[in-house]
Amino acid sequence: MAGGRTLPILVVVASIMAVWYVATVWLNTPWQLGVYEREGRAWTASDLVVDTMAQERPVLPAPHQVAIEIWQTTVEKKITSKRSLVFHAWITLSATLLGFLIGTALGIALAVAIVHNRATDRSVMPWVIASQTIPILAIAPMIIVVLNAVGLSGLLPKALISTYLSFFPVVVGMVKGLRAPEAIQLDLMRTYSASTAQVFWKLRWPNSMPYLFASMKVAVAISLVGAIVGELPTGAVAGLGARLLAGSYYGQTIQIWSALITAAALAAVLVSLVGLANTYVLRRMGARP
C-alpha cells in the first residue's frame, strides 16, 4: 500500500480536508463572535466550533455544508428547475462539448495543412502561437456581448470561446504527432509508391493518436474554463459561471463553492473520459496497455 499511490493520495486528500475544517473555524470566528456579543450569551469552545460550521453566509463554508448544498440542488431539485445544479451544469457542459468538438476539428485541419504545406507551416505556425498570448478569456465578455448584438446568442458564442482556447493544444500536439513517423518509415512508404493520402491514412494518422489524446485532455479542460468565463457577462442567466457570478453578487458563498466543486468534478470526469477513450483506441490499434 505505502509503495503504491492510493495511500499517499488518500493522506493528502484527508489532510486538505483537515486544513479546510480548521480554516473554516478560524475564518468564520470573527463574525460568530460578533453574533454572540449582540445576543449577549455565553459561549464555549465547542459552541464556537459547531456554530462556525453552520453559518448561513460563512466566509468559508465547511466541506459538509457544500456537500449538503450540492446534494440538495442536484438530487432533491427537479432537473428542469432553475435552481438545479444539474440544469446549470448541463448548459455549461453543452457549450464546452460543442466548443471542444469544433476546436478539435479545426486544430486537426490546421495541423494537416501545416504538415503538408511548407508555406502554411512558416506563415501560420508563429501566429498560432502568438494567438495564445492574447488573453482570450479576458475578451470573452466582449465577444459574447458583440455576438449577442448581431443576433447570435445562446450556445454558440460560448462555444466559440471554448473553440479558440481548445484548438491551440490540438494544433501543437497534432503537428508533432503527424511528424512523428521516422524518416525510415516514410522512406518505406515511398518504396511502396504510396500517395500522400495513403501515407497520411496508413502511417501519419495512426502514429499521431497518442499525441491527439494528450492534447485533447488539455483541450477539454480548457474548453470548460472557456465556457464558464463565457457565461459571466450574460447577466447571470444560466450555467455554472452564472451561478458563480450570482453567488458573488448576493454573498452566497455556499452557492459559489458548490458551483466550483461541480465544475471541478465535471473537469475531472471529462479529462478521465478522454483518458478512457485513449486507452480504448490504442488497444484497438494493437498497442500494449
Partner: protein, 366 residues
C-alpha cells in the same frame, strides 16, 4: 528547383490573381463613383493582369513581392475615395490576398533568403491579415461596434495612453507580477520541502495534476470577498493559478538528474544541499522554465478575469467590462492590444532568461 518553374498550387494562384485583376480592372469598384478612384488601384490591377505573362515568360519572385506591396498600398489608400466597395473592389482585394499567398509560397519554395525569409514570412502573414481586416471592415462599412478597423484602434490607442498606462500599472505591475512571483516562488519552495519525502510526492503529484486541470479561475469571486476589491485579491487568484503547474513541474524536474550523475556527486562526498544546488536544480531548469512560461500567460488571464468580479475604477479587466457596456469597442481592442503585447513580452522575457540559463540543453544548441 530553379525558383521560376511553378507548382500546381502556385499556377492556380497565379491564374486566379490575373483573372481577378482583370475583373477589378473592368468592373465598377465603388457603389457610387464607378471606376474613378485613386491611380494606385488601377496600377495594381494592371500589374496583376500583366502577371499573367508569367506563363509565356517566367517572372522572378521579386515581381510577386512588388505585386503584393502594390496591393498593400493600393487597397487601403483607395478607401479614402471609395466609401463602399463594389464587385471590382472585392475582386481586387481577393487578388491582393492571393498574390500575398503566392509570394509567400514562392519565397518558401525557393528556399532563398535564409534567416531573413524565415522572419519575413510570418511578418508578411501578419501584415496581410491587418490589411485585409482594414479593407474588409471599411469597405463593407462594418459597424464599429462589431469590429473596428485597425486604424481606428491605433488612433484610440494613441489617444488614451495615460488611461492604458494606469490600467497596465494596476493589473500587470501590481496583480500579475506580485502574484506570479509569490505563486511560483512558494511552489518552488514547497517542491524542495517535499523533495525528501517520496511519500508526499506520490500523494501530491496526482492531486496537483488534477488541480492544474480544474477551472481555478472560479475562485476569483471568493478571493474578491476575502481580500477586497483592490489588487491583493487579483494577486491571490494569480498565486493559486500559478502554484500547481510550478509545483508539478519542479517536482518532476528534480527527479530528472540521472543515476550516474548522482553517484558521481556521492563519490565527491557532496552533501544533500550541494547535490541539490550543483546538480539537481540545473538539471530541473528546463522543467522549471516550462512552468514559468505556462504561468506567464495564465497569470495575465487570471488577473484580468478576476477584475470582472469587482475592482476599483482602474485595471484592464475593469476597463474591458465597462467599455463593452458603453459599446466603445475600439477602446476594448486597444486594451486587448496592451494585454497581447504585455503577454508576449512577458513570455519572451522568460524565454530569453531560459536561453541564457539552460544554454546547455539540446533544444537550445541547434
Amino acid at each position: 528547383m530553379n525558383g521560376r518553374s511553378l507548382s500546381k498550387l502556385q499556377s492556380a494562384l497565379a491564374v486566379a490573381v490575373g483573372v481577378l485583376g482583370l475583373l477589378g480592372l473592368v468592373l465598377p469598384r465603388s457603389a457610387e463613383t464607378g471606376l474613378s478612384d485613386t491611380p494606385f488601384l488601377t496600377t495594381f490591377a494592371v500589374l496583376a493582369v500583366f502577371s499573367l505573362r508569367r506563363f509565356r515568360y517566367p517572372l522572378p519572385v521579386f515581381f510577386d513581392g512588388c505585386l503584393t506591396l502594390a496591393a498593400g498600398i493600393a487597397l487601403p489608400m483607395s478607401l479614402v475615395v471609395i466609401d463602399k466597395g463594389a464587385v471590382g473592389f472585392w475582386s481586387l482585394t481577393a487578388a491582393g490576398w492571393l498574390s500575398a499567398w503566392l509570394f509567400v509560397e514562392r519565397l518558401t519554395a525557393s528556399g532563398r533568403g535564409g534567416r531573413w525569409a524565415s522572419l519575413a514570412v510570418p511578418v508578411l502573414f501578419g501584415v496581410t491579415l491587418l490589411v485585409l481586416w482594414e479593407v474588409v471592415t471599411r469597405g463593407l462599412n462594418v459597424p464599429q461596434v462589431l469590429l473596428p478597423p485597425p486604424s481606428a484602434i491605433g488612433a484610440r490607442f494613441a489617444a488614451s495612453l495615460p488611461i492604458l498606462w494606469a490600467d497596465f500599472q494596476q493589473t500587470f505591475l501590481k496583480s500579475v507580477l506580485i502574484g506570479y512571483a509569490l505563486g511560483c516562488g512558494s511552489a518552488f519552495l514547497v517542491a524542495i520541502l517535499i523533495d525528501r519525502s517520496p511519500f508526499l510526492q506520490r500523494g501530491l503529484l496526482p492531486v496537483g495534476n488534477l488541480i492544474s486541470a480544474l477551472p481555478i479561475i472560479g475562485i476569483a469571486p471568493i478571493m474578491v470577498m476575502w481580500f477586497g476589491f483592490d489588487w491583493p485579491s487579483k494577486a491571490a487568484v494569480v498565486v493559486v493559478m500559478t502554484f500547481f503547474p510550478m509545483l508539478v513541474n519542479t517536482v518532476a524536474g528534480l527527479a530528472e538528474a540521472g543515476r550516474m550523475e548522482r553517484d558521481l556527486m556521492r563519490t565527491y562526498a557532496a552533501g544533500y544541499w550541494q547535490t541539490l544546488v550543483k546538480l539537481r536544480l540545473p538539471a530541473a531548469a528546463p522543467f522549471i522554465f516550462n512552468a514559468l512560461k505556462i504561468n506567464s500567460t495564465l497569470a495575465l488571464i487570471g488577473a484580468i478575469v478576476a477584475e470582472f468580479f469587482g475592482t476599483p475604477i482602474v485595471g484592464m479587466g475593469f476597463r474591458i467590462s465597462t467599455e463593452v457596456g458603453r459599446m466603445n469597442v475600439d477602446m476594448v481592442w486597444a486594451e486587448i492590444a496592451v494585454a497581447a503585447m504585455a503577454g508576449s513580452a512577458f513570455f519572451g522575457a522568460v524565454a530569453l532568461i531560459e536561453r541564457a540559463v539552460t544554454f546547455w540543453h539540446p533544444s537550445n544548441r541547434a
